[in-house]
């Protein structure tokens, strides 16, 4: 496991897998998950890009993010693992699900 995450921290960025497409994108430093996904051609929906509208919501199955949302999610939804891709930065490799 340790080995795997070390491998995922390449200079290309931190590995983020997005289900159910099962694509893997590498999020570069300073880049949001949404930006990285769009750069790599993953079909992710978004609108406000400032953590308000919730359009970019994804569910986190594993890993940690830093998120700067603006009320697009309730606290209990965040505790349940929901994230907003437009304002989230991976801290570790992630497995996310588009629900």
């Amino acid at each position: 496991m340790l080995q795997q995450s070390a491998a995922a921290h390449t200079e290309a960025g931190i590995s983020v897998r997005i289900l159910p497409y099962d694509v893997e994108v590498f999020v570069r430093p300073g880049e949001t998950i949404l930006e990285a996904g769009l750069r790599c051609g993953v079909a992710l929906a978004s609108s406000c890009r400032q953590g308000v509208c919730g359009t970019c919501r994804l569910h986190k199955l594993s890993g940690e993010v830093e998120m700067h949302q603006n009320g697009g999610l309730f606290e209990d939804e965040v505790e349940d693992g929901d994230i907003l891709a437009c304002c989230s930065y991976p801290l570790t490799p992630l497995v996310l699900e588009w629900a």
Partner: protein, 409 residues
Amino acid sequence: MRRRHELCDLLDERRPGYSLPQPFYNDPDIYALDIEGVFNACWLMIGFSVELPKPGNYLAMTIGRTPVVVIRDRAGAIRGFFNSCRHRGAQICQDGTGRAAKLVCPYHQWTYGLDGRLLHAGAMPENFDANDHPLRPIHVEVVAGAIYICLAQTPPDFAPFRRALEPMLAPHGFENAKLAHQYVLVEKANWKLVMENGRECYHCAANHPELGISFPIGISANMSIEDDTRMRGYCQRMAAHGLEVGPTDGSWWQIARFPLNEGMISMSPDGAPLVKKPMLDLDGGDTGSLRFSIEPHNFCHALGDYAFMFSVLPVGPEETHVVAKWLVHEDAVEGVDYDVPSLINTWDMTNRQDRDLAENNQRGVNGLGYLPGPYSPKAEGLVLRFIDWYCERMRAHIGAPSARIAEVA
């Protein structure tokens, strides 16, 4: 407007004490006026506060042709809005229940706070002021856990109803209940036929043998029991518990507590309670039923062990949705303290029997042979009251000063 004149003539044509002329039960223009004059104007009962347990929980439904959403805001208050985006009008929440941190239009993602304020609208010009485009509120009142809404700009005075209902309903603990079951029954009948049927028990002895086990289906003007001695005993027992019996009413509402049949504790197949944890924990749940109802479209029964709600929502001249909901104590565990099939059995059977009656009534009324017929003052007092109320309401609607000015102009 032509249809207003026609409605006026038809109202004049109605014989006092008789059912309505045929067009009232199937004419699309009168149906449209019913929506305007009744459903867009009156208080409506849509459900219970416990259906919205957390901030962001909402209940969305269509009243006539108007989608509305009722939601618990971040401060815990229950608010209502027209469920149409202020951008180009798209419906924001789909009808049904859900939870949302923000109300987001699925079309262009205009985003509103739970207080209705517009928070995000992409690509709008510099001079666009979000403050000018909040969601439009509707009126919401919550009485001891029962939610009422009104779409009118100026709703009918709600205070007298609240004053009467609150103390009578509060002991039933609707705020500490949960929704055990709900469904929508589609009925191919005009909403007024559905309501007329629901306002009398003349048809009960023959058509609802199951309900008749517990429910006092004897012929009476207002569904009360006629045995004075029993009624006196019941009233004394309720008074000892501090439970008001009533009856009390206003022009568009009625509230009364009444005893069930001798030895019957709940509206159930054998009169025995259906839920082990009662909502009103007095005399083993033997408190009869608190019936509270509003014109145009609703009645509820609050029993010792459960509560039942029946609200109609018209969807077309000859189609009506009956929204049925069952509440039980929040601590009652399904499969342990109650089970849903038994809980809903009596009213579910009754609802389906009533649906058949209303649809059958519609078919007969649609025929060439239909003529308005007389209501029984003894057995159909509440039907008469409903229809008289309806006629008055429609007169007021079409007689509104603005309509008269329009006619003169």
